[in-house]
Amino acid sequence: MIKTLARSIREYKKTAILTPLLVIVEVVLECIIPFTIANLVNEMQAGCKMDVIVQYGIQLVIMAILSLIFGVAAGNTCATASTGFARNLRKDMFYRIQDYSFENIDKFSVSSLVTRMTTDVVNVQMSFMMIIRIAIRGPLMLIFSFIMGFVMGGRLALIFLVTIPLLGIGLALVIRAAMPIFRRVFRKYDALNDSVQENVQAMRVVKSYVREDYEKKKFSAAAEDVCRDFTRAERIMALNNPMMQFCVYAGMAFVLSFGSYVVITSRGAEVAVGQMSAILTYSFQILMSLMMLSMVFVMITMSMESAERIVEVLTEKSSLTSPKDGLTSVKDGSVDFEGVSFKYSKKAERMALADVNLHIRSGEVIGILGGTGSSKSTLVQLIPRLYDVTEGCVKVGGVDVRKYDLETLRNNVAVVLQKNVLFSGTIKDNLRWGNPDATDEEMLEACKLAQADEFIQQFPAKYDTWIEQGGANVSGGQKQRLCIARALLKKPKVLILDDSTSAVDTRTDALIRQGFREFIPETTKIIIAQRVASVQDADRIIVMDGGRISDIGTHDELMERSEIYREVYTSQNKAGDSDGQE
């Protein structure tokens, strides 16, 4: 896991390595300063001259300035390294996600991906900052102070041998007791917030059923549970502070009593007064660094979960990759399914598609009809290789889709997805998704063909009209037509409309199909629809049922032999006004 994460450090490796180096110097200086001061105090006690004091003063000020320079430099490099690392992590995740196949995308929810790229990255960034700065600083400080303590204080430093293990063991015990609770409670906390989200989204339902009090009780119980665990964990963690204080106090009492004894009995030879206060400083520094270490440890453990979630995204293997030296041209728009079976996951028991054999000639118009869950969308999504078949093979232009370069294949097989999305930007921005180099004329042409030009011209800003996120400011029918135009701009050999005209009125719907026939006759058109009227005039209509092709034929043939087709037809054309429709 660490290896995967470390790969994202890249250009910040220099600063990441520089930081601990700078910190080392800073720590050394910080440890020498009390030492120098101790000597100064001793000199002063011995009644030295002013010039000695000034000398020491200059020394100390220089050290302070150096320490400041190194400290500031370390702070700087540390900030750059950790935030840069975070930036790369976000970037790597986002880039990685762009490589995901549909199968991978289905696996993660949008909100979980966003949380991973925000909250989780921030957690890891914090940990990283602590590691390169404090995790280095802590042990160094400990070692230096320890050594300096013995150098200066001699026997007085013996107190370290008592307080360090005492605090060390204490902290370790606290962490061991608190960590499992923390891990558990953070999961509960997430669940609590999920339930708030659920409640906010379902507010209309809550209010309609007058369930406000019920929801309050439910929330209270969950909040109580979280609170209990958090309190337990924090109370254990809160033991750190008194433990630390105890050790500091013990050191103080020891130095004051035993220290004075040593100073007096040795007449200041073994240890002088200056050393007494220095050793207190060191003891404090040692305990502080232990404390810091324990904090770092807690922080790291807590961000472990975040790191795991990030790595999950980074290491998710795209289940679908473009072959090396894939074909970069598609001969024609013929599509063949040969013994195709498909299921969404290996674990799934039921095949979403079973034993499909189908041959579509280039330029043919194919309609697909079938109930919800009959795998209409699944069938067409195999053509641009949004998913890979489980068995058999799908061919476009007579070649297995797995042999094409993915981009070539998808540029030649355009799909207008059922859940289609427009992005915030102008109409032109959105259209250019189909072809980044499209000229204004090409866009106009595509929009005319998709029957979108008419309403676009009515907008004050025409093709520069701003589309809100998700296309919130255009109607459903307009959105669908824009999506069709966007796909047309690819000039594809195969065009697939997955229920893409459901919100378009039947007249316009017919005009679109008529345009297709006239202006792009050589393009294979595959149209999934709920309305019989949308597919009625297709060359052939496929009736899907439960993941199988139930029947294929023209409208008239199907009316005669397919019960499902007839059922759908009559359900939509009751009351004898079927001739009212085109």
Partner: protein, 646 residues
Amino acid sequence: MARNKTQNANPTPATTARGQRAPKGVLRRLLRTLFSFYPVLLPITLVCIVINAIVSAAPAVFLQNVIAIVDESYQSGDWASVSGRILTYVAVLVVMYVISLIAGAFYTQMMAIITQGSLKKLREKMFSHMQDLPIKYFDTNGHGDIMSYYTNDVDTLRQLISQSLPQMTISGITLFVVFCIMMYYSMILALLVVVGVVCMVLAARAITSRSSKYFLRQQITLAKAEAFMEEMMTGQKVIKVFCHEEGARADFDKVNGEIFYNARNGNRFANILMPLLGNIGNVMYVVVALVGGALLLTDVPNISISGMAFSISIVVPFLNMTKQFAGAIGQVSNQINMVIMGLAGAHRIFALLDEEPETDEGYVTLVNARENADGSMSECKERTHVWAWKHPHHDGTVTYTRLQGDVRFYDVDFGYTPEKTVLHNITLYAKPGQKVAFVGSTGAGKTTITNLINRFYDIADGKIRYDDININKIKKADLRRSLGIVLQDTNLFTGTVMENIRYGNLEASDEECIAAAQLAGADDFICRLPEGYNTMLTGNGANLSQGQRQLLAIARAAVADPPVMILDEATSSIDTRTEAIVQQGMDALMTGRTVFIIAHRLSTVRNANAIMVLDHGRIIERGTHEDLLQLKGTYYQLYTGALELD
């Protein structure tokens, strides 16, 4: 399609934007709130904090005394003569330490309880208040924004309460006590320290104002990035289909770069703070040593409260105190960013708590009733499946009206904002058991009408009467209890299928729930789920299809058994064949009830008693299916597919 029409209709900007500093007074309100949560425990804890802080500042005094003794006798090397005095000091010190430790252990434990308890109470308060807010609040505020009160804002508050506030209190007291001791020993040196402190405060202020500026900006860019990522990930499949990965990457790099810029600068300044303050502290230390040394040598009279003369025994503890002083200031400044962020969070939370809750001036209530022989109604305790409106009058009399489900609109006008009226002169009636359908294009006002019946919004002009009672007089809870509603976007809750159905009526037995599911035609697929009715649903029923979710919502409404039903595109995600199967259940559900139906597919409204065609908030055609076809107007065009409907 996202149902956020009303949100688009009146985009009110969030009142409490992210990335803003909290105004004055928030801290006081926060403290007051905390005290109100723990009126006894918090003051006691505070006392312990004070004791702990004072005692931890005290060693300086003992150090001075002991060093004074050591200083005068170390040349003699005679331990025995001074051991008594030294050990007495140490003994007193130990006693103080014990007190301090007890106080310390107590306050840290209590703080853990207070922090978590306060957060819990605050969360509960927020949640409970939120439940009482009008639906308008949820329509006009992004769900992400509302969520961040519970996540980001509460989290920053946690830092503030558990760490920053106690830390600042302790540091403040330490500063005060140490300063007093300093003054006691030597005012000259103390003044020197004050000068150093002023430098530190100025430096800290300069730096934290910069770092907090960037941190607050970072919050804004993070929110922006979140919105961007959300949009991109939602459209991820479209990106794939159009091979737009490179473009998406380039756009992301821009946003990502902005976060980096702010985060880096914020952290840079924050990281500089400690070394800077620490080393100003070091310089201060040196200056004190120098001046102290000079004073020792030059015999300048010491000005102090104690009247002590200068000696090494003053300078040594003074040096320690300088360190302590600098440390405390460092601690305080280190918390400043947390405090700024925490208070900004508190401010937003208070803004949520200050939102005006839904008012309810209704006094007519719904009660179980029994019909007397003479046809009048009387109230009773047990469930009779007969309900009546209990209507108390000014003169003290109470009348009972049978709950029937008769809904009438008289000349109703309505707008989500006063400036823009979206419904004009709506007059309509639905007698008990009648089915009224609304048809029209997006934004015509279909859903708005249903929002008025259950008083999610209040009308601007006109009158709505329910069983001949003005709905303004009916208690909202009782009004809504008498209405069932099935929406296009189905919301399910985390829990079992059974619990989700029971949501419609908490007292329903398992059998009643299953019967309702059968009625809705949901029983079939539920039984095929891995654990049938006990299958857990999570993430809004993520493992179910949209159609299955709608069936569950219909079952949920069926178990509530209200006399009036509102079906807002309730079957839009069910394909025509399945719908034909569900139709039976829907018909069963609708019999004997007043039904308001909004439908995408006109086939579902055909047998309504009345069809209202809405356009721009006005009823432009009304009548039965046959009437309207004969009229050859808008309905006819819609029906024949000549007009778009979505």
